[in-house]
Amino acid sequence: MKRAVVATALLLSILLTFYPLSLARAQSWAVAMSTISVALVGVSLFTHRWPFASGGLGLFILEYAVALHISKAPLDTSAPVVGLSCLLLIALLDLNSLFGAQTLIEPSVIVRRIRQALAGASIGAICGLVALVAAAGTRANHLLLPIGVVAGVTALGITVTAARKAIVGD
């Protein structure tokens, strides 16, 4: 099971991190960033350390942003799929971290985690799609940029507040 999780996560990370190459026309810096991203995710998979995964995925988002910026493409409709892949990769990394603790994992745990990951990724993809359509529709209007900033910060604020509430309580 552990090998299957590691293999799937590695395959997904390769597909994910090498996707911006299609936007950036396989420039050398993009190849280097993709390679480093995959390497960091791989290190995280084998060492069960999250900072490497955060670094690898952060580097991927940076690469994706630069690739989008220089590609001049009107709209990348694959963005929700990219987000879905990111969420699945994070779920696989989370599942893999359980294998690293010499824990006897009962099958029901794995089933539950896979179910949660698929549900979360589906919701994420839908949210991403809605956000993409909404953002694309208002893209031409520069007056809406401050509203977008406020909305984005509010969304993150809600996430952090919900997390804080879950940890600290009311």
Binding site: L57, H69, C86, I90, G124, A163
Partner: protein
């Protein structure tokens, strides 16, 4: 439960923030969509119900065992709230090794009681504390965990396995009650001592007819009466020299357990003194109840370091009954224990020392200085043994490779007493 944000939550928040910032910097809606994709499912997960309250307890079945036996630790968990993923870990002392894994991850259904069993092998004797039981509850899609340690700690008594001693050292002095040892005094018994003239009151059954016919007047056989003895096992617990194969304290406890059992079977009164950083004793007694007392006493024997100077004056008088036979187990390291043994011998008690530290198990070291130090140390130990023997205390070595019975056979029989082996 002590709640923590998981690395997953931190990772997701960081990535969503990065996507949002880059989205605003580059003006690309795809990155804002990516941010929404990462952040919003987590908001939904975090808005789920509260972290469930979990109750757990730990118990042993059975609570007593022998070395090498398998015992089962049972963890019982109950969740008061929604179904959740739980990871439990068992705190184990090195003397208990799990058969399988000591950590389990499973689903704890809402309102149900779940039992998980951990088979454990008792590797070494002692009163072991098991626990606490660490419980980690994973909730909100793995974004938040709650952790708690559950007590009270379960206690397992693992009794040592020891060899059966068939023949120990016969005590030089016996008591007045009937027992299994031939006393030095003459009287009624079955162990022949000598022949003497018949005097009024002698039993006709004791007449030696062969001597009587040869001498022409009545002679009677004289025998040694069978008597019991008081045995005091003196355990030097100042140091525990942990050698490659075994520790001196381990040998001490196993030897003491074997001898105590042997002497109790022979209706002797057995007492124990643990002379070390902590002084403990058990006054001499006999019977099955006392055997359990001794077993429990030995389980709590441990080496504890102390700077305090101690001699036998601190021992209560009852711990050393008159004419008791003292068998001391010592690695012959600490001067305080050596002084106590010498003092006991000087007070007229018969003492035998069983040296539990074998020099051969200690590597001398590679450098010339280390080799020299090793030789000096061995000479010092020879000197210590010589001093004890000159004080009338025989010293026998016992490294645990052979039976204690064969080690005890090396003790010189100083007096003409014989024991009866049942």
């Amino acid at each position: 439960l002590i709640k923590h944000a998981t690395p997953k939550l931190v990772c997701v928040v960081l990535l969503a923030s990065l996507a949002l910032v880059l989205g605003f910097v580059t003006g690309r809606p795809e990155l804002v969509a990516l941010c929404a994709c990462l952040a919003l499912p987590q908001v939904i997960s975090l808005s789920a119900g509260p972290l469930p309250e979990v109750q757990a307890r730990l118990e042993f079945d059975p609570s007593r065992s022998l070395e090498g036996d398998t015992v089962t630790a049972t963890a019982t968990l109950t969740a008061d709230g929604p179904s959740c993923e739980v990871e439990i870990g068992l705190g184990l002392p090195p003397e208990l090794s799990p058969r399988g894994r000591a950590r389990r991850a499973f689903i704890l259904p809402a309102g149900e009681t779940v039992i998980r069993k951990f088979p454990l092998r008792a590797e070494r004797w002692g009163a072991h504390k098991l626990g606490p039981l660490a419980v980690r509850v994973r909730h909100f899609g793995g974004l938040v965990t709650g952790e708690e340690l559950f007590g009270p700690i379960a206690r397992l008594k693992v009794y040592p396995t020891f060899e059966q001693v068939m023949r120990a050292i016969p005590p030089p002095d016996t008591k007045s009650y009937s027992g299994d040892y031939a006393a030095r005094a003459s009287g009624d018994g079955i162990e022949f001592a000598s022949v003497r003239d018949f005097i009024r009151g002698d039993s006709p059954r004791r007449i030696n007819w062969r001597a009587t016919s040869r001498q022409g007047f009545l002679h009677v056989n004289v025998a040694h009466p069978e008597r019991d003895a008081d045995i005091v096992l003196f355990l030097d617990t100042f140091y525990d020299a942990d050698l490659s194969s075994r520790s001196t304290l381990d040998l001490t406890v196993r030897g003491a357990a074997a001898l105590a059992r042997h002497h109790l079977r022979h209706n002797d009164r057995v007492g124990l003194i643990s002379f070390g950083g902590t002084l403990r004793w058990l006054t001499a007694s006999m019977g099955r109840t006392h055997a359990y007392r001794i077993a429990d006493f030995l389980l709590d024997v441990s080496a504890s370091f102390s700077y305090a100077w101690k001699n036998i004056d601190i021992l209560p008088q009852a711990t050393l009954p008159p004419s008791a036979f003292v068998i001391a187990f010592s690695p012959l390291i600490d001067r305080r224990a050596l002084g106590a043994i010498t003092d006991i011998a000087a007070r007229g008690f018969s003492v035998v020392v069983i040296d539990t530290l074998t020099e051969d198990e200690i590597a001398p070291g590679g450098s010339p200085e280390e080799t020299l130090a090793y030789r000096v140390w061995r000479l010092q130990r020879d000197m210590v043994r010589g001093r004890l023997e000159s004080a009338g205390v025989p010293v026998v070595k016992w490294a645990g490779e052979t039976s204690i019975e064969s080690a005890l056979a090396q003790v010189p029989r100083r007096r003409s007493t014989t024991s009866i082996t049942l």
